[in-house]
Point group: C2
Chain length 146, copies 2
DNA sequence: GTATATGCAAACCGTTTGCATGGCT
DNA sequence: AGCCATGCAAACGGTTTGCATATAC
């Protein structure tokens, strides 16, 4: 593992991030967290996509651990699970409330700017219920010749 | 198969419904369609839930056929697939655009009145894309003592 | 008669779990 | 020492598929 300034900086960021969720910085968690938030960008991954990245590198993490770790991150609020496609689970490093674009052909999930979505009225919730969260997914297809 | 007026009426409704999708009214399709739209009410089913109903009756349909038939109905626009939960697919007999309530504890999916949802602004779609559909799922949890 | 639909069982794929090993504190 | 995390492989649950049989037109 590289020991340059950048790696150290990221490593510390990641350890801090983990501690926000009360999670101990084990080797695998640090590796995965770095791949999730290492560059400060929001990211959407599936367990398989995160596992695929790790297979390309020297520091490997088992698939089961990827699953367990994603679940752990989610349950302490470090990640958010997004359901857009019945066949797999997506995890979002942006845990704030915001809509998503979902490319139907490539199965890519990306954030949509929350400010541009304005919902002025929501259906009245049934008696005895409260809203846990409102998911807005804008499904996209590639436009053919215009 | 019953031959009374009601059954005939439903049977004809269902045959008409199937023909709207260009589907031949086979025995199994008619049985399933009747359970979906037979009473004129909107319904949300999973393959398993529809299959479970059929097991309770004399006219059975195999699970594989339930899956294939739901897919067939969907692909000709007679049903709409709703994704709310990674683990199973829901199918909605209401094919118009409308939001859904999803009870997180019981995994029940119900329609929410479309008129009560007002979206006045939607994020700008990326270049080269067009909106296929906008899914709005209002996740509910049961309110504890008030 | 010919194309299409059905049923069964086996395959499939993403995900979870049991259990033995290994690492923090 | 004790607890928690990891890794493997096997189990799992929902869904799809191959293929032989049956049905609609």
């Amino acid at each position: 593992m590289a020991n340059n300034k950048n790696a150290n900086h990221n490593g510390q960021t990641v350890v801090k991030w983990l501690s926000q969720g009360g999670l101990r910085p084990t080797r695998q968690r640090v590796i995965l967290a770095e791949r999730l938030i290492g560059d400060g960008q929001n990211r959407h991954v599936t367990a398989e996509s995160l596992f695929a990245i790790s297979n390309k590198r020297s520091d490997k993490v088992s698939l089961a651990t990827v699953y367990n770790t994603l679940r752990a991150f989610c349950s302490v609020g470090l990640l958010r699970e997004i359901t857009v496609d019945g066949s797999k689970s997506y995890f979002d490093t942006n845990v704030s409330d915001h809509p998503h674009f979902y490319w139907e052909d490539s199965s890519d999930l990306v954030d949509a700017p929350a400010k541009e979505l304005r919902i002025t009225s929501l259906p009245q919730v049934p008696a005895g219920a409260e809203i846990s969260k409102v998911d807005v997914v804008i499904r996209l297809r590639r436009k053919l010749t215009e």
